[in-house]
Symmetry: C2
Subunit: 479 residues, 2 copies
Amino acid sequence: MPFHCSHFRTRRLWYIAVNIDEFRDAGYRTVDLIASYLEGLDDAPVQTRAMPGSVRAQLPTKAPEQPESWDEILSDVERIVMPAIANWQSPGWFAYFPASSAPPAVLGEFLSAGFAQQGMLWATSPACTEIEIHVMDWLADLCALPAKFRSDGTGGGVIQDSASSGSLVALVAARERVRRVTPGLPLEKTVAYVSSQTHSSLVKGARVAGYGMIREVAVDENFAMDADALAQAIRMDSDAGLVPAFVCVTLGTTSSGAFDPLSAVGAIAKSEGIWCHVDAAWAGAVGICHEYRELFEGLEYADSYLWNPHKWLMTNFDCTAFWIGDRQELIDTLSIVPEYLRNAQTDNAAVIDYRDWQIPLGRRFRALKLWFTLRSFGAEPLRQHLREHISLAAELEKRIRGDNRLLLSAPHSLALVCFAHRDGDIATQRLVDNLNATNRVFLGTTRLDGTLVIRVAIGSPWPVAERVDELWNLISELA
Amino acid sequence: MPFHCSHFRTRRLWYIAVNIDEFRDAGYRTVDLIASYLEGLDDAPVQTRAMPGSVRAQLPTKAPEQPESWDEILSDVERIVMPAIANWQSPGWFAYFPASSAPPAVLGEFLSAGFAQQGMLWATSPACTEIEIHVMDWLADLCALPAKFRSDGTGGGVIQDSASSGSLVALVAARERVRRVTPGLPLEKTVAYVSSQTHSSLVKGARVAGYGMIREVAVDENFAMDADALAQAIRMDSDAGLVPAFVCVTLGTTSSGAFDPLSAVGAIAKSEGIWCHVDAAWAGAVGICHEYRELFEGLEYADSYLWNPHKWLMTNFDCTAFWIGDRQELIDTLSIVPEYLRNAQTDNAAVIDYRDWQIPLGRRFRALKLWFTLRSFGAEPLRQHLREHISLAAELEKRIRGDNRLLLSAPHSLALVCFAHRDGDIATQRLVDNLNATNRVFLGTTRLDGTLVIRVAIGSPWPVAERVDELWNLISELA
């Protein structure tokens, strides 16, 4: 029986019960389908071999006029969708950064959809707002963040949909800060500073926010931002009548996992009154491990800080943890209160309305999945999970160093290893193509100092040790 | 047993099976919890009575160090979360616009989380990209949209996370269009046109995009934008050396459901080279009903068009259907291709990479829930669903007209009815407070022409006829 058919034949209340039974049955079968997908992940090819257009070719050209059964739908999922998805969660997936997702978060997302809350205001879903405030405080504590980032400080945490959106929010707030200082300042005069290794979303965000200039600061031999070069660029721009407004410090760059010198850059930003945004999208997860805290030294300089539990902390996308040092700066920038959104709690300033902390008005109950992840695993097992990946990366680095056909492209950073073939780009490309052709592993490439390099990012939520061994054997054989 | 404990004790593969069984069990219980929540919706109070801070007061101050069981977690959901959520799906929820969610979409969201795809590029999830292209074409056909909005035309459809984000994308593309025409144009000179009834997200978006000016055009007696006033404003601004860049036409305003004159405004926009954005966030759903097509006449003038299946079409948030007339304008504005995102299919321009159609880089497999909704219900039952709500609104309007204690504030628009107490704002406020105090219904207010009015937005996915009757009885009794 399709859902809800009866809905259109009767308005009597018992129809709900009828349909709830159908929901229950369809729900169990969906659980089974996901379970069998996850069960098969370890043996499945890592990448799909779908060709452009191959999925669409199997779909009818028009939407159905009449209901289809859950049977038909799930069977199309198995027949059409599943062969054409990329197995991001496979232990053999070493490309990009992980977008790891584990069962507790998957069920959190499910429950969030079931409750169908709109968390734009405290009043439109108190639970959605308060669980989010609370879990973001938990995470701030786990990472030992400066007190200003807690909700009982001057700032607080919020879940953004992506690092791109979080960075855009920071860019806009930074822009408004300099415009408050210099009323009438033309946007064309504002400058945002990044490095050549900063994530592309920062350049995109600065473009969206209408910055006049995006200045790419030079990096040192480890691909970290050169703080002296930054100071010099700021001086030259100021002398030329431009207004430095924003600098992005990356902790764990996308290409090689480099760490920009946060304390040095932060001190410069502070003395110049520039907004200091810290993007630790991938690496931020290890802030929960005490032994890596020094990587995050200088966070007291940050006006905004973000990292993605949806990358390495097994909380499915979208879940970007974003903290602001001074929430009033954010609210002043993003708050617009039309009549139809007014309510007693907001008017009394008794609550946080997360609508004013982000670009969109609407928001899902994303805190559930983060809450479930932290509780189901517990902080200590999560630390062990990260540590295991880091030690596997160290082991892989050692093996690469010991093989004279290969060159390590940068020191391994946490669970990211970059290497190249000694014979140059063509040999490196051939090696990665051959590795990916096995479909037991999937690796990406980037360029460092103009040289093509292979990236190995370890981060699957499932056990990966054996697959990293296998990866090494494949490299060894195919190099 | 908590999830994954074994993961940290062994790397052996059998652990996956162990945990999958736990996932299956936890999944079934989550299905049961959602089912019992939905089953109870009809009898449950519509609004939570949670007080600020009441949820947080029940939570431990620190994240747990060790795993907690699914039992503990679900029992906290029942004990702490459920009493503090707002029952947006209740048949008695008439506030805001609906954020309707039905079982097929809930299961689509669940499956999307289970597959954990990253749809930023075609290559990172062919199924995610192609199902989305296809379902957006289905929806374009169901709404009889101009051919340019189809993927085989010059444009195409994409799912954005919200109307706010979709409008921002349009605002930025419009801004870049005038800057291409006039290189070096200062942003301070750009003007975006809205009306006093346009949704607040447009003002927020124009602010984020750095527009120099947001011009509020006057509305007529039906709260629709006055096209002559728009033409005059454009003329005056151009004469003053400003550059008109963007106009938003709202079909179904938030306060009263008014329809701006699309054909007239569109023609002006076209002759002036201004980007015409059409926001039908709520009302757009009825485009699937043939008898309402005339409300959308003039869409051939639109450069971008959006509406939210997550409002009235039972597809849980987030799901904003956004169409662009010329996809190249979007891509030119938003595309940035760093080395680590390059791939053969993108380089060959053989595919759509939705990353270039939105602000964030990452994206979930949102098309699944829209696909499931369209297939599970079928187009004709979906039309009947909307028609039923509209006829209930018409009936309610008739009753209000027939009661001399009440004043209809505007003709009912589709399933939205606005009315006030004849005795003025204080009496209206008292009436809505008393209605909401019953907790059998939940209504919001807005202001029209300075007068406080009560909004009744019918749109629950569950049968609402009896509750609308009950609402009328309560109004009658409490007025």
